[in-house]
Symmetry: C2
Subunit: 337 residues, 2 copies
């Protein structure tokens, strides 16, 4: 018996709504980030013309399925959770690649591909020699996910609903997420949320604070700058105090400085797990969330859940791409001791 099954029998452990994206990942000298006017370490939305220009300026690349919540699910599934994904690709080759990869990871994915234009979303990721990733996302079909494609029964049948803030920005997926929140709450399920990026918070801060005030968010993952933007409090402890008063389980990642979690009056922290070489930080936060969420719902202590998050993040930053490459369950088990 695990916390995954707290509200009656759940068909899935976690169902997530997120971007269905193919990452296009290339090495890049530091100077090119400035030349192209990119937002180093951040995520920028780009249109089709910008995508063409940036792709032309990019070195030889590799294509690996991505999307923040989808990456988290890939981690959860690799650890042993039963997962489902809701997101939208186009009816094209990159859509087939995304669909293959998520299903091959053992994740249920039934949303039909969208015919015609725009194409499947892609994220052009420039990786500098320090392993830092700079993301430029062309959202394509992903941001047109209509609420009608949401299977509310599937949401009601999952122990945890996991929501990716990136998809709060476009109108149709936002409506789908609101529908999902209602379905999850009606079924007594838990809702986990990540605001994804400061620019999303800047645009939807009132929405996010309202959800938090309503008690709709049971578990939140964010990083330091996101917490500061969300709370309006530049001081870390002030931000923690404000959010943790309203969010039952709060996890704040601090990059190379590890992470902090607060839940039920308890506080724990963890250092980053050691890595031989940071190759590509893409997906570090996504996999941290996967490891923590898996540990937490399996009834681990707050500190152990944080450790699992840090270990999963260390696997993902040791190679290109945001999907686990090794047997993640084994990788975590060996390092948890």
């Amino acid at each position: 018996m695990t916390q995954f099954e707290q509200a009656g029998e759940a068909k899935l452990d976690v169902i997530a709504i997120g971007n269905a994206i193919i990452d296009v990942i290339a090495n890049c000298p530091d100077a090119l980030i400035d030349e192209l006017g990119l937002s180093r370490g951040g995520m920028m939305l780009i249109d089709a013309d910008q995508a063409r220009t940036l792709y032309d300026a990019m070195g030889p690349a590799r294509e690996i399925s991505g999307g923040s919540a989808a990456n988290t699910l890939a981690g959860l599934a690799a650890l042993g959770a039963k997962c489902g994904f809701i997101g939208q690709v186009a009816e094209d080759q990159l859509g087939e690649v995304f669909t293959h990869d998520i299903r091959a990871a053992g994740i249920q994915f039934d949303v039909p591909a969208r015919p015609g234009n725009p194409p499947t979303a892609r994220c052009l990721i420039f990786v500098t020699p320090d392993g830092q990733r700079t993301m430029n996302t062309f959202l394509g079909a992903s941001h047109l996910l209509p609420p009608e494609k949401l299977d509310a029964d599937a949401v009601a049948g999952a122990a945890v609903l996991y929501l990716e803030g990136y998809l709060w920005d476009p109108e149709e997926p936002r409506a789908a997420m609101r529908k999902a929140i209602a379905a999850a709450r009606a079924a007594g399920r838990k809702i986990a949320f990540t605001p994804s990026e400061s620019f999303v918070i800047e645009r939807h801060r009132d929405d996010f604070l309202a959800l938090i005030d309503e008690g709709a968010i049971d578990l939140m993952f964010c990083n330091e700058p996101e917490m500061a933007t969300l709370t309006g409090k530049p001081d870390f402890e002030d931000g923690l105090a404000m959010l943790s008063a309203k969010v039952p389980v709060l996890v704040v990642t601090k990059g190379a400085d590890g992470a902090v979690a607060l839940a039920g009056g308890e506080r724990a922290q963890v250092a980053a797990a050691p890595v031989d070489k940071v190759v590509d930080t893409t997906g570090a936060g996504d996999l941290f969330a996967a490891g923590f969420l898996y540990g937490h719902v399996r009834g681990k202590s707050l500190e152990d859940a944080l450790r699992m998050g840090a270990i999963c993040a260390s696997e993902i930053i040791s190679h290109y791409g945001a999907r686990p490459e090794c047997d993640l369950a084994d990788f975590v088990a060996q390092r948890m001791g």
Copy 2:
């Protein structure tokens, strides 16, 4: 002055004709190779239905541009050679990916994409825990490269014409290659050839032996089983003696046992370069050819050219995919001492 420029001023150092393929690379347990009836360590041609079935059985994958000769060019270009590629993609997303990657590697590539079906070629590569790759190729638009798309002037303007045996199998590219051989010989250029795979040799042995007898092949790359199939001599030394009598520069790779080269009565050999962990052997032969060819035409000794080949192969097998990930020129320079 280098050997690249031996027959009058060359616009390109190397021009190659080869498959324009996207590799789809996934980890795979040993048992799955048997279950699927695959040819472990080899390359099998598959049709669209087989491609669908195998893709469904495959784990989460990464897409990286491939193609044997194209990989060799990527290595040569990374080392500093001026290269051009002749091959055909379809007008689709994977074709755009291939085109981007080869141009981003600094390689001239002007063959227009082919509209309509079939799609761009892809190679489904299953990588077992020992790093061995088992390749299953759907040739798509690649094997429909028509001789009319061959730019004979470009071939005549390159110091070396490099031919990939895989493309000798389908009719249209074979005609393109014959046209290229004629153009290169008329211009006094050198021709390098790799038979690619034993099954190709089995089907076209007479053609290959005729080319060798005519003196059309100045430089040949093959591995042990390919040499045995081509010469009909199971004994390694017998095969070497037979081929080296007719091929001015002969390089035979022996996997983990290194390689042997014979040229102008001289013989040299090299051990495999050390690797921390063999991740994926895809492209080992292609990059060996790149390193050797670069060293040879830059006037290095036979042994040093072999060492450069072994070093390039060691880079490529230390990660997924058959395109160099690091600064290959720097990587080789550091290890050559």
